[in-house]
């Protein structure tokens, strides 16, 4: 199956045409494939090029070099964009309008005939049904974000591109948004999420890309990225001699757990043998895993 989106050797430089100032590279040879039906999270520091990548993906900005394929077609093709739902980072909404009018307008531009029942269902889904008759101008940031999400969900798109979808949404609202996105994923949609909230990304996305300085530093399944290949978490039965274990190469990690760095199976077993000789009884052995924050920090350190 062709990927939901594919970028090859993508370059983008923002030029400043006044005062002779040099431009800035936003993307520097980005290659990325996102399989259909997956949830992909793009993370990285500010100015990494995440939003620029989304803009190139949707034909909002033009790449200087490289190609972008969206649902097996060019993003310039309006028919392809009709199959994509997009929530920009800072969605500007018409303050004097009410949510149903805004959604109907978006539906018209998407070529959809949205019935009143469908609108009510959609507004209920994002938790805005009770505010349907209020003017958008009086909405909080979180409510605006929910309305933007509803607009992105119009027409059940095959691909959802969400730039900071939970920005400004309260903690309970985030849970609701996550549930909605999980149901979209279960429906078969592909999610492409750009977020600063690493814990949210970690909970939702099965695949992660780390972008920095316009380059993709790491990319792959979340568990593979977070797994520390050479590190193990080891738990011994109570009564083990801590000093002997440290001498055998184990590092205490608190609550009775020790960490061990072992590059291969032989090294791992040799260390365990030393522990057993010291009288320690093994009760649990797992690969040590890191959270996304550690992975991001390590990737950025390595890139620097």
């Amino acid at each position: 199956m062709t990927p939901a989106l594919e970028a090859t050797d993508l370059h983008k430089r923002y030029r400043r045409w006044m005062f002779g100032r040099a431009g800035q590279d936003a993307l520097r040879g980005l290659d990325l494939r996102v399989p259909r039906g997956t949830a992909f999270g793009l993370i990285g520091p500010n100015g990494a090029g995440k939003t620029t990548f989304i803009k190139c993906l949707l034909g909002i900005a033009w790449p200087d070099r490289g190609t972008v394929r969206l649902l097996d077609s060019s993003p310039e093709d309006p028919a392809v964009r009709a199959r994509v739902g997009y929530l920009p980072e800072r969605l500007h909404l018409p303050g004097a309008w009410r949510p149903p009018a805004f959604l109907r307008a978006v539906g018209r531009l998407k070529g959809l005939r949205v019935t009143a029942d469908e609108l009510r269902t959609l507004l209920a889904r994002v938790g805005l049904l009770e505010s349907a008759e209020r003017r958008i101008g009086g909405f909080s940031k979180g409510m605006r974000q929910r309305l933007g999400l509803a607009a992105a969900l119009l027409g059940s798109p095959e691909l959802l591109v969400l730039d900071e979808p939970t920005d400004g949404v309260d903690p309970l609202g985030r849970v609701e948004v996550r549930r909605i996105l999980e149901s979209e994923l279960a429906r078969g949609a592909t999610l492409f999420v750009n977020s600063h909230l690493l814990s949210e990304t970690e909970r939702l996305c099965g695949r992660i890309g780390i972008l920095s300085g316009g380059r993709l530093l790491r990319e792959g399944p979340l568990d593979a990225l977070c797994r520390a290949e050479a590190s193990w978490a080891v738990r011994f039965a109570p009564g083990a001699d801590g000093a002997a274990l440290v001498a055998a190469g184990f590092r205490p990690a608190g609550d009775g757990t020790f960490h061990l760095d072992a590059p291969d199976a032989a090294a791992l077993n040799a260390a365990l043998d030393r522990a057993r000789v010291a009288g320690a009884l093994l009760v649990e052995l797992t690969r040590a895993s890191r959270d996304l924050e550690d992975v991001l920090a390590e990737a950025l350190r390595a890139a620097a």
Partner: protein, 272 residues
Amino acid sequence: MAADLLREAGARKWFLGLAVAITLLLLALLGGLRLEVVDGALAATRLFGKALFTPIRAADIALRPVFIAASYLIFYGGMAFGLIACSDFAPALLSPGRIEHLLALPVRRWELLAGTFLGVLLLGLLGATYGAGGLLVILGFKTGVWTWHPLLAAALAAVGFATVYAGMLAAAVFVRSAAVSAAVGALLLVSGILAGNRRALLTTMSEGPGQLVFAAWTRVMPPLSTLAETAADVAAGSPVAVGQVGTVVGECALFTAGALAVAVWRFEQRDF
């Protein structure tokens, strides 16, 4: 896009204010205009109790100055209002967070600009038609003179405003600023008045680079004052050569097409 722009305009106080102002003006005319028609002729025209024209003449002839004044008011008054009230439409369209959302929808870039332009054109046409239509209905009931000429003049006023707005739209695509857009509109309006009187003005200028620059500049500007005079003649029912109307409308349409072409060219290239 055009329908959405009309909806957006309907929510703006500027346009609500305009609608209220036109309605109040029409109501004032309805209540205050004292006209006495005797055997089809207008015996006296009184505006708020003051006699306007003393000689007795045919009603349609007597009403000509009223239609001419209304035509100029709609043309220049409407344009001045539109310059300010519509200057924000294109910059709002291009505002961060909105343009990205629109460009990600299955709409071609040029369609967004065309929709905005058409929306503003419709807005101008609606405003001018409401004012002119209301006036001719009031005068029609009071004098028995029914004429569609003021409506045609209103359409010409809308053509004039569309010409200026095309330039404002092009300016906004280059610089996203309501102030710049309005300034370009004002410049075009003044230039258009000068362009309509270029021959007369050129004779008053001494030869030299200044005259050359003036001649070149007013050559490419739309002859708005000529269009306004033509609209006034049409409103009054004065004989106007079809070729003359066609020429002045054609010149304005050419300028509009050129400005829109520049706007679309830049818009297609721009990153947002």
